[in-house]
Symmetry: C2
Amino acid sequence: MDIRMLCLGLLTLKEATGYEIKKTFEGPLSHFYEASYGSIYPALNKLTEEGLLTCDQQAQDKRPDKKVYSVTSAGKLAFMDALQKHPGRDRIRSEFLAVMMFARLLPAGHLSRLIDDRIDEYRDRIAHIDRECAGVMAGEVETFICGYGKAVYSAAVQYLEDNRHLLESEALMGSTRAAE
Amino acid sequence: MDIRMLCLGLLTLKEATGYEIKKTFEGPLSHFYEASYGSIYPALNKLTEEGLLTCDQQAQDKRPDKKVYSVTSAGKLAFMDALQKHPGRDRIRSEFLAVMMFARLLPAGHLSRLIDDRIDEYRDRIAHIDRECAGVMAGEVETFICGYGKAVYSAAVQYLEDNRHLLESEALMGSTRAAE
DNA sequence: TCGTCATATATCGAGTTGATATATTATGCA
DNA sequence: TGCATAATATATCAACTCGATATATGACGA
């Protein structure tokens, strides 16, 4: 399930422009799947070439033309087919944990600040998810996904608070051994 | 903190070959940061060109030459410098949640199987982390990172078990509306 | 004997990010 | 009034990364 297929799936639910698809990727989806214009626009072009999408180009006054994409019947079949395949494993890249690998090399104050900051960031994310899903418009699927994000980020915050001492006892206690 | 810098950091802790670095990325690190040969070998070459690494090429009987990389003093400084920068946000791509977006389009049996499989996969990961960190050799940092992984995956399993009904009530109850 | 795993390096196509370019209108704010 | 910034809308590009593949050889078990 790459971005190309995910665009096809989103258009199966509702026709949209590339710009609107990008907005969708900035909603609840953003917590577990990101996509940039640099992948979305080429994906839409390729899907159109392949006959899985049609493009209705709408001239607008005072705005660039809108290209509204809709799924063809071949597109619907292709997407249903892609849904049958076993989804790949989660891919995670945490620069925070990567830096924590080197806790011993960091001055204690700096390490503690990094952990504080990360806890704040996760709390912000949780608050953000709450705002996104507070609306009456959220269906079961959206509720499920938002809840998933909250569960995971809450667990991360809890873990950091309960176990940060493991790292903080390892860090340089005010010394500057870092440059040795 | 890209793979290039992370290689430099690992070599700061211990000199190694590209092959050994790949092995390191397959340990506890693998749960939050992955790297392939296709990024590791070019990274080592570039770091060497830049004077941040030195390479000791050891001819071996009956084996390809080993290239053992060590960090130069310039390399140490460059890495300490990189550690000062605020780590970027976590990047997560979950194909599983992407597929769950389309729960309505899936036959109920298929959906349930997907969720069962994902719970099993997370449980396997937790068991795998336990094995990795059971050894006496694990230091505080490794313990911290393994614990983080366990906390997050446990929360995910718990959430899936408690909330799967939200999706399962949305799925096609045995019908084949999928192709409509 | 045959397959497969481990050791070891390397490359390449394809997918992706983040920045940047282009052009116009709307909005806030001093 | 003027000026910066955000929003609407599409598009491209260098740099990074993955997953597969290539190349060689030895060991180990079926």
